[in-house]
Symmetry: D4
Subunit: 232 residues, 8 copies
């Protein structure tokens, strides 16, 4: 029988991002097959949405090969080592319950070698909490904002900083929060110009977008043209 | 044939608010019948959602009897005179397009004799605009916040003031603003405690709620018990 | 690593309401961290949506420090004692299944020192049940109405009393009740003027709104101006 | 070319109800074709949703053959004459704006020879208005309740009478009324047992349901009239 | 503490239907309290949505007092005995999976003393199955049609019979069946005139509507049985 | 400036269907540009959703070059001539108001040279109308069923014929018909196996699907294998 | 008591497809009853959505009589044998998580004797994967495309092949994937002409549609007429 | 009376983007007030969603001061001149009907001095059209993709290029396209990693996001750190 997995190994070469394994809804066999395939090709691999219970059902050799982090529900198959140095991206959360998603973003950034900064629990009901970080936030080329409920933090940050503001609506909340849809719509309908958004709870996607943003820095001829524009 | 209108004239006596005429979807004949009925009983009457084009189709005597205000699309049939004195309620708007709704609230308050304050175009994308009014806003027992799009202003005001925060989501915006539903859900899912909301574009209802809030001041025995609680 | 919790301790001073811990979706560690933080600052703390099963997973010292009430799924960390005296708010429910939400409101009011009255199972299919309490209900400056299914009780109470009517739609019902959305929309589209609403099942928020309403009584200069208006 | 209209002339014989012409979305030619077809077969015909502007575009002979009523937007092609005698059905409306729909129901009942009673503008915000009619309403085997906005009237009537309660949700209202969906859901999720509902604004359908109910009735004088209807 | 349950014992006298206990979302204590209250008043009681697992958690004396039927998830507290004689209502299902709901209707009819007929698994994909019963179905004053998925059976039956057609949409199906909403909308938008509908999966409500219909019936033998029900 | 239109002229060669011009939302200039482009390449062109008012705004030479049919709102730019011979596809409609959509399908089939049969106004409320055509319908390899409201006709036809049943839900109806969504969901959740569907009001797409079905007949080697299967 | 199951055994004769048993929501008794009924009639039977846990609860004789395949969650009751020969249909999936649904389609095709080809994990993010199969795909009269998330694969395949493209949207994905609705809407709104769709996760239905497509090959007179059209 | 407009003039200094005037829903007076305010401060101003009919209602001096472009419905109040040089951003559209939105993005980029490239009508049904531009597209740090209907183009481009892919879903299409929601959900649920999205039809917002992306090039210290990461 044909294999269930058909990796797009050229993706990193082509677009700077490699295929990751979204574990929810996959069998342990399918996850194991993916790990073996990556090992056979000698490439690192990121696994997301891998709950502790699911990690425990993987075959022991697969478990042993992974650097597993329960607080972000991600696992990394090396060769890989955590980035060091000054953070180049910030991930800000509105509440404590948004941390799981923010940490998925932070681990993804780490997988791509980008050091990043976590700023937690700074929702707008106590506005001084985010304003305290205004100066620092203005230094980052990309700020990931993670918020559920009404998602007011997206607009507040979008009105404070110059960098790319990547909203990650989360499913935090109940009732009218509608499993993250209200925060999603808030990001899309934001009164702050140029805020962009990714799917609900998609910390991984926000980090990938940040990688795309950061990647533009390596093309000097674009940099030159654009900076001419921006310094007027 | 029986009349189309069957006023609940006891309402003001019973709950402190009289029946108003919502003009959208009523024929000029039905609106005229309502005006005559009020005149016959000698009671003042508030008409809402009366667009200039609709006002122009009313019979001339009806037009002459009304104090019409196009900026709020309301008309008042006297006996009535505008309130004077220090404002006891504030109506804050996120954008210029929210003014029509805010002014419906302000006219309704005026109909009930309550002087009020308008603070316009202070959306969160430029946070300094609302923060400039923080001190003043903290003085009102009720603040009506009128906002469309993502409705972030509800939570920001809800985190700044002690008074009752009455959110009026508006249909300002497009796409993911969903005709006011996103702002409505934002008010309901607000991270600021104790924010309440009324229907989309319902400036009239917000003002009625403020009348209910203000009405509690006249019952000294409640005031006494509650202030004992609050001054701890 | 930075802490997961970043309390807004100034909130009570600023708006008269302190930050509460919404326990759903938080780990026992995060809840424990919040309790320790409050203890370290010597401030009382309210915990909501804490199911008996979740309470049982908290560390024993945390459990011991809390006054836990399973019928409202709330816990209170003192210093605190239940209010005494005449009730200043009423909480009315349409059915027996709405009691959990009503009791969350009642416990929140108690946390803020406000004595309140519970009136249970008075839905409109047997109209005499609510009419029996009409006289009493008209005495309260704020009435919290808790109803699921079609939420008809909001409009009926809104047409009977002068005080602020705070609707709490509940997820009681099935099918077209749509998990509370129908009751929510009924509150928003109510034909009774000035009814306000909070999120589905949000007994806590309704109580916070009532605290805001009651808090207005302590500002005599507003009281004076408003009562002049209302006694005409 | 084949005709556009293919009448089910056997329907009245088969189920006691004949095919009606829903005019919205049909061309004047198609409506004219239907009228001619009925005339050729010598059977009466009911036309619904025929706005005055649309009536005016019909060919003059078609116009002349019809008994047109703008207040219900219906037309009847005879042989037919209005029913006389005691009403056997009541149609109750919550507000003035619901009258158009109620009158569609009343005209349909009249087309089938059933005398009926209109009770207008008795919404629950002024509860005394509907309670005034309680005694009378309890006498009808079927009560049609027409209400938009939050549709609370369905449950209130459903808890007062023994007869079949047929809810007709209307598109009256705005915002959270959602074009009639909230009233529709309120009818379906009603706490009063055995309330049934038809489509939004479907006065015609409610009357057809009442015809089905009456077709099976005990009271001899009604039975007689009703069976006259059913046996023709 | 006040009791959680506040029965409307006058309901049967008033509208011919007594209050039932919807068990979903109620605690065993609350269900037990309801049973004791009914026993104390000596009135029969119907309990719906009582899954076998929930029945097993009731206190043994409560269990012993009930006539429990797992195939309809209902229990009856007597004095009561099953009706005998010719059926006066039919309950038709589109598929096998709709039987649970149909049997809730049949048991409710039985509780009110009405003998009824079950016709199962006659969906329109094999049209001969329902046509085989056409003659019989035309004899009933009320036909309850229970269908999920696309709900085509409502319109087919509505076009075949004279009696009241009460649609019960069910949550049978997946995806575009949307948990019963598609069948519900199909009932409401039916091309057959005078079809009425109740909430999704609401077999109980359909039966209550049939009781209201039967309460007004011509056929003397039914009249007698029905009036026996109505006068007790 | 670059042209607005960039035709995929290879499409007919590649998949047997050429690019059509959907006129809604296009300016007369853009439509004119498309016509000129097709003329320059000497290929026939189908234009859909071209209302009479829009046709009248086209430049006169463009108008003169088109074979315009208002009953289907389509225009054809030749070289082209209507097909003759026995019909190979049938298009069935539930009601008169569905004819516009059915005729879009018929014209598209004609554009591709396929003769087809129209069977109008055979909705299920009068079941005999469709059953009269059962024998004939069973002969077609593809049957297009066009229905709005509750879309019950899809399942009835799907249970009667062997050919491919292509459902076209229409926006006919109001309220719970939800602009065609109910019929769409009915097609998708149909109890008849193997019914397929296209977008609401998409007569064009249904015809294209029929072209794909009919196109399979020209590949004898497939025909042979499949017929071996089917004749067992 | 009447049986719960009422098979439409004439269906295969009538439309070429036999009734299958959708096991979700049926009791083991009902499934067992269906198997016995088919055995009694000596006809083969397909069972779908039979999870391993549900299979294990069937009575042992029923289990023994079935050819169970966990990877598609289907079981077949013979007489039956797997088809051999060149594939006549292809089933393509966007991702690994879509395989369960694709295999339901493949097993259904096998049940009807049609050999088919699986092409897995060829989503558009790595476009070369599907383009590699372009030549082969163009040979099939029907291609089943199975995709969740954004469902872009439907349009890409629809633009590449001549055969009938049957989209099966899946519930793969989260958040804005909305349980398969986004993929479903993508199939319906596809820019590729003539793509048809079935319900979310409905591999069975897609296969039935393919059987209908393939079945058209056995009617030579249609084949002849159509091929005349298509070879122009 | 207070002015209706309260500009956030510090915004450009603070975040690199100035406040624009969204003209839909504003009166000519309010638009005129905004223009005068900008003139008084001597700052350039961008006006969006200004239809030709609305432009014509502006006071003549306001009209004369603006550089109006009907193809994008934007106007610019100078001092300003169009950018020259090599494009640094591309805007790609799926169809001709998406051009209006794409041109709003292009004008906004021009307002900020960024030259950009338009690539029109390259939807995936004819895949060769976008693949022809693959090489060029890979050179841009940001690619704006404008697509309605099923929005498949977002994922295809997202799988081809390294730069930031900013999806702009449009309201092009009908029925299941749901006014742009399907394309929006497709962007959010895209299988291509790191695609970000803005509101439906929000060409302006997409351009603002691109300005944020391009702005990162002027901070050399970030550039350095990030390029170290990306060149591994």
């Amino acid at each position: 029988m044909a294999p269930d997995v058909n990796f797009d190994f050229q993706r990193r070469e082509r677009i700077g991002l490699s295929e990751a394994v979204f574990c929810l809804g996959k069998t342990p066999q399918q996850i194991g097959e993916a790990i073996e395939l990556a090992q056979a090709h000698g490439v690192p691999l990121l696994l997301t949405r891998l709950a502790p219970e699911a990690f425990a059902t993987l075959p022991p050799p697969a478990q042993a090969s992974l650097d597993y982090d329960p607080s972000s529900r991600t696992a990394i198959l090396g060769p890989w080592h955590p980035p060091v140095g000054e953070p180049v991206v910030a991930a800000v959360t509105a509440g404590t319950s948004d941390l799981l998603v923010a940490r998925e973003a932070l681990r993804t950034l780490a997988f791509y070698g980008l050091p990043a900064r976590e700023i937690a629990d700074v929702g707008v009901a106590g506005l001084w909490r985010i304003l305290k970080h205004e100066e620092e936030l203005r230094r980052y080329p990309a700020v990931i904002v993670v918020a559920g409920m009404e998602g007011a933090l997206f607009s507040v940050v979008g009105g404070l900083v110059r960098g790319v503001v990547i909203a990650v609506p989360t499913s935090t909340g109940y009732g009218a929060a509608r499993g993250g849809e209200t925060a999603l719509h808030a990001a899309l309908a934001s009164c702050a110009p140029g805020v962009v958004t990714v799917n609900i709870d998609n910390g991984y996607g926000a980090a990938c977008a940040a990688v795309r943003v950061l990647g533009t820095h390596v093309r000097p001829e674009v940099s030159e043209r654009a900076s001419a524009v921006r310094t007027e």
